[in-house]
């Protein structure tokens, strides 16, 4: 086999290279030549093509994402901010928490089980790389219509893949989302979040420093799986026929190897045997070597033939681009090398020295005695192209916003209201999600205090003190379609509210921004507006963005998906025993906190009952969200709340049904005399929650609401075995339960 070398590149400068097929623009190709002072070798060209792809370089999103840094609110908790593998925050007691959400949309469409499984594996390695032990995962899933044939193809495999990988790693799955909407029919969204914890002093760096230090590849052997996965899979829109434009090889996961890798890495960290570490994800060894060398401001020399291969015939560019899973790159001092290799051996993890850190400022890669790569690493990792792409407000937006749901027919009699309620709770977006969540282990590690369907997952970090964290993610593509600025803030507000509802104080934000093609100005406008909304929202709520992920090129046929920013909020709670659950207790008073206006634009009711998407999403009032959160957190801390549940999709009706069924108790609701029952039950006004309080502390709690300028309404009492609304409804819990629980088993069993 002959291979293109640096020497040949200098000798033969006019060789025609397939840069366009690799996804590079002519000016990008010219720029590589300028950086190197010669044409790239074929291997270098492949490396630039993957590192300068949208997926790795964030070239279309960078100019917008910097708002997260520029507008970041002051926080004394932030230990590692954006730009690292994942952000790290101080949660007190000497502990640090790291969390991040990432997409694996396109691989999961092509191969549901492995695509989703390796999505979990990838985000877990990001968390591990920071020095943390992964302690929980969550998944945010979006599909086409629940009864669409392709949903039946992808959903079961995706759910099984998430479970198959996460369960085998011993990570509790504590929550997530499941949404059906035709805009995702040809492009399901599979986002995965992982959270980890570590002693503060164990935070790891991804920088390769110290000339002479050894570059060690840990974990699985390198194969041809996932080659080009990043540049071809993640950056090419699926064609109208629903199939991928290029038939790629999706990576195949081996969670057992990852479990061993986790234990091995944590033992290496605790023994202080690594000077730097980086996971291998998108763009594999190319990304890991260039990013560590660039971060360290050093150079690196790699002997590529030392990389353990699954197939001996692999060429240099294949070895460098391979996305074989379950691999990490560690920088180890020569003195620590024997001890580090011994730890790897103990856990049965392959560890191979493949090179060393140098002081040349160049990444030099040799293969079989010839130099195939000689580049400045920062040119790949940090200095890729940046585009400020044109934006244009969608032409149909005015019409869409003008098509208000106020004219839609509404239930007008008690019987119609009853039937509407039963249809709504049985609708795929609002129904019970147990069919999915019972395929995930939520108990492993023994620290799960709350898990789905609760508002947020709550994990205990310290058994002695009860210190813990809460996590919730939310996103609403319909709201964001109607108003991307408000839609992103509504997603943030909901996740923030969910965390506060459990009693935890929100402290940090992660996000996964799922959008269509950035080359379409109307999509780019949605993206720019959503980022601006999220950055402004985080500033107003005092919760900095610590990291995240952008997924572009999501479309069904020629139609981009509804813009879907998924926002994750992390909270901290001093004592998890104080958490507030969502299930109603057997007795008490129900209070509705916040104000209910007629806000049905983008609502679940308009969509489910009329297939209607139009108008404006609910108004955002972040000052109100803060006040609500403070009241919920204080009420939890001081033992005033028996239950709390945030209002969002489906409105008050949905919350009453869920909290009654969860608590196995009925409720008798009496709305204010002038209230329109339909509006009160199904409007989706933001900044609201339902709480249950015992009679005695009720006055204390409502006094606090008054002091915080938070409106509240006493709407009923708990007890009995039906949900009734004075003067119009009385539905037995059994009937509600049958409707609520029957939908998914009926669709997917």
């Amino acid at each position: 086999m002959t291979v293109d070398t640096v020497e040949l590149a200098a000798k033969d400068p006019e060789l025609v290279q397939p840069f366009a097929a690799l996804g590079l623009e002519p000016d990008e190709y010219a720029r590589i030549g300028a950086v190197l002072g010669r044409r790239p070798t074929q291997t270098e060209l492949a490396m630039y093509s993957v590192m300068w792809s949208e997926h790795c370089s964030y070239k279309s999103s960078k100019v917008h994402l910097k708002q997260f840094r520029d507008k970041a609110p002051a926080s004394d908790r932030l230990l590692v901010g954006m730009g690292e593998n994942a952000g790290v925050v101080d949660v007190g007691a000497g502990l640090a928490v790291t969390f991040k959400v990432e997409s694996h949309n396109h691989p999961s469409f092509v191969e549901p089980y492995q695509g989703a499984a390796t999505g979990v594996g990838g985000i877990v390695r990001d968390i591990l790389t920071m020095g943390a032990r992964p302690i929980a995962v969550m998944d945010q899933l979006r599909f086409g219509d629940a009864d669409a044939p392709d949903t039946a193809r992808v959903l079961p495999g995706i759910v099984a893949g998430i479970g198959g990988y996460g369960n085998c790693l011993g990570l509790p799955n504590i929550g997530g989302e499941l949404v059906f909407d035709p805009s995702y029919a040809g492009n399901p969204l599979v986002n995965a979040l992982c959270v980890g914890v570590m002693p503060r002093e164990r935070i790891q760096l991804s920088a390769a420093r110290g000339p002479g230090n050894v570059v060690v590849l840990l974990g699985a052997k390198t194969g041809r799986d996932g080659i080009g996965g990043v540049s071809v899979l993640a950056s090419a829109t699926f064609d109208a026929g629903g199939g991928p434009a290029h038939r790629p090889s999706v990576q195949v996961g081996d969670p057992f190897t990852e479990k061993l890798l986790i234990e091995c890495c944590i033992e290496l960290y605790d023994a202080q045997l690594v000077a730097g570490i980086q996971d291998l994800g998108g763009a594999g060894l190319t990304c890991a070597t260039t990013e560590t060398a660039s971060a360290g401001g050093s150079g690196m020399h790699v002997d590529l033939e030392r990389v353990p291969l699954r197939e001996a015939s692999m060429e240099p560019h294949e070895i460098l681009a391979s996305e074989s899973q379950e691999r990490m790159l560690a920088i180890v001092t020569p003195a620590d090398l024997p001890a580090a290799l011994a730890v790897a051996q103990k856990w049965g993890v392959d560890a191979t020295a493949i090179g060393e850190v140098t002081d040349t400022g160049r990444l030099v890669i040799d293969w079989r005695g010839e130099t195939v790569v000689d580049v400045p690493p920062a040119s790949l990792a940090d200095e890729g192209p940046v585009y400020d792409r044109p934006v244009q407000r969608p032409a149909d937006l005015d019409l869409l916003q003008a098509t208000d749901p106020s004219t839609l027919p509404r239930p007008s009699t008690p019987d119609e209201l009853r039937a509407t309620l039963l249809r709504m709770v049985a609708s795929p977006n609002l129904c019970d999600k147990t069919w999915v969540t019972e395929q995930y282990d939520r108990y492993v590690q023994g620290n799960t205090v709350l898990a789905q369907p609760e508002d947020a997952g709550v994990i205990r970090l310290d058994e002695a003190s009860g210190l813990g964290i809460a996590l919730s993610t939310d996103g609403n593509g319909r709201y964001t379609r109607l108003d991307p600025y408000a839609g992103a803030q509504l997603a943030l507000a909901e996740a923030y509210r969910n965390v506060a509802a459990t009693g935890a104080t929100p402290i940090a934000v992660t996000n996964c921004l799922n959008f269509g093609s950035p080359e379409e100005p109307e999509v780019m406008w949605q993206f720019a507006e959503a980022v601006r909304g999220l950055a402004d929202g985080c500033q107003a709520l005092g919760t900095p963005v610590t990291g995240g992920n952008v997924s572009f090129y999501n479309s069904t046929g020629a139609t981009p998906i509804n813009p879907t920013p998924v926002v994750g909020v992390l909270g901290v709670i001093d004592d998890v025993a104080r958490r507030t659950p969502m299930g109603f207790p057997t007795a008490g008073t129900i209070l509705l906190l916040g104000e209910t206006h007629e806000e049905l634009g983008g609502s679940e009711w308009a969509w489910e009952e009329h297939g209607h998407l139009g108008g404006r999403p609910p108004a955002v009032d972040l000052r109100r969200e803060r006040a609500l959160a403070e009241v919920l957190i204080g009420g939890s801390r001081d033992g005033l709340l028996l239950a709390a549940h945030d209002l969002s999709d489906g409105g008050l009706a949905q919350v009453l049904v869920e909290s009654c069924l969860r608590g196995k108790v009925g409720a008798q609701i009496t709305l204010p005399a002038d209230a329109d029952p339909f509006r009160w039950l199904f409007s989706e006004s933001a900044g609201r929650a339902v709480v249950a309080v015992a009679d005695a502390p009720a006055a204390e709690f409502t006094g606090r609401c008054d002091a915080a300028d938070l409106p509240w309404t006493s709407i009923g009492t708990l007890g009995g075995d039906s949900l009734s609304l004075e003067g119009s409804l009385d539905v037995p819990l059994d009937e509600l339960r049958t409707a609520y629980e029957g939908t998914l088993p009926c669709l997917f069993d």
């Binding site: 085998c168 061993l260 019972e438 995930y440 939520r442 492993v444 023994g446 205090v449 025993a577 069993d749």
Partner: protein, 227 residues
């Protein structure tokens, strides 16, 4: 001195720390045992925890049975050492022939995690003395291959000798024959249980505290044997 209860870690064990926590809550000292060492460190009883030992490759538990620690464990179990296998631990006990039968793929083919109602049918084993026969407890079940099968003669023998320790009630989560959730060996010192009592030892993190009885039972048993 508190009894010392070993918890084995195989590559791919997941619930080992949970099992150690349950042992501690019951009042015993957990001792970490390593799959590669054929040494039980003089412990008074052993828990084989849940997980996916060796990635469940070949068959669940099929590789773990050849681990050095299992050689020591099989001998010790023959001499009366109390052994509890939970989930993957139960699978390993079957593969090691310390218990009869096998655990196969759930009938519905899904991994299933739910709060499961169990009836304790035998309290004569080393691990169930704290319960009364007929007690119904709530313990999480979480497995993909928990469907217990055995030939009719073995099932008849298990039934006849009262060795079915626990049965699923209010719904069988995996299709196990005779609703079997757990069984014991003839001597009653070795018990395999598919559901996870170690996840039901604290109301804060589990559906109940009903599982603690497994761990307090063995302490009672050890005290009685010592007396």
């Amino acid at each position: 001195m508190s009894p010392r209860i070993g918890v084995v870690t195989f590559p791919g064990s997941l619930d080992d720390r949970d099992a150690a926590r349950a042992v501690r809550r019951a009042g015993a000292d957990p001792v970490a045992l390593w799959h590669g060492e054929a040494d039980l460190l003089g412990v008074d009883a052993v828990v084989l925890p849940g997980g996916f030992s060796y990635g469940d490759y070949l068959r669940c538990g099929a590789i773990a049975r050849f681990a050095p620690v299992m050689t020591a464990l099989v001998d010790a179990a023959g001499n009366g050492l109390p052994v509890l296998g939970i989930c993957n631990g139960f699978q390993i006990l079957c593969e090691s022939h310390l218990l009869p039968g096998a655990l196969t793929r759930n009938q519905h083919l899904h991994f299933r995690n739910r709060d499961q109602r169990l009836r304790i049918d035998a309290n004569t084993t080393a691990w169930t003395g704290a319960y009364e026969p007929g007690d119904v407890i709530t313990v999480p079940v979480k497995n993909g291959e928990g469907c217990y099968v055995a030939d009719p003669a073995t099932l008849a023998q298990l039934e006849g000798e009262g060795r079915i320790v626990a049965r699923y009630v209010e719904g069988n989560p995996n299709g196990s024959l005779h609703d079997i959730a757990g069984i014991a060996n003839e001597a009653g010192n070795v018990v395999g249980l598919m559901p996870h009592p170690e996840h039901a030892v604290d109301q804060l993190t589990g559906p109940s505290e009903d599982g603690l009885g497994l761990f307090t039972s063995v302490l009672k048993h050890l005290a009685r044997v010592a007396a």
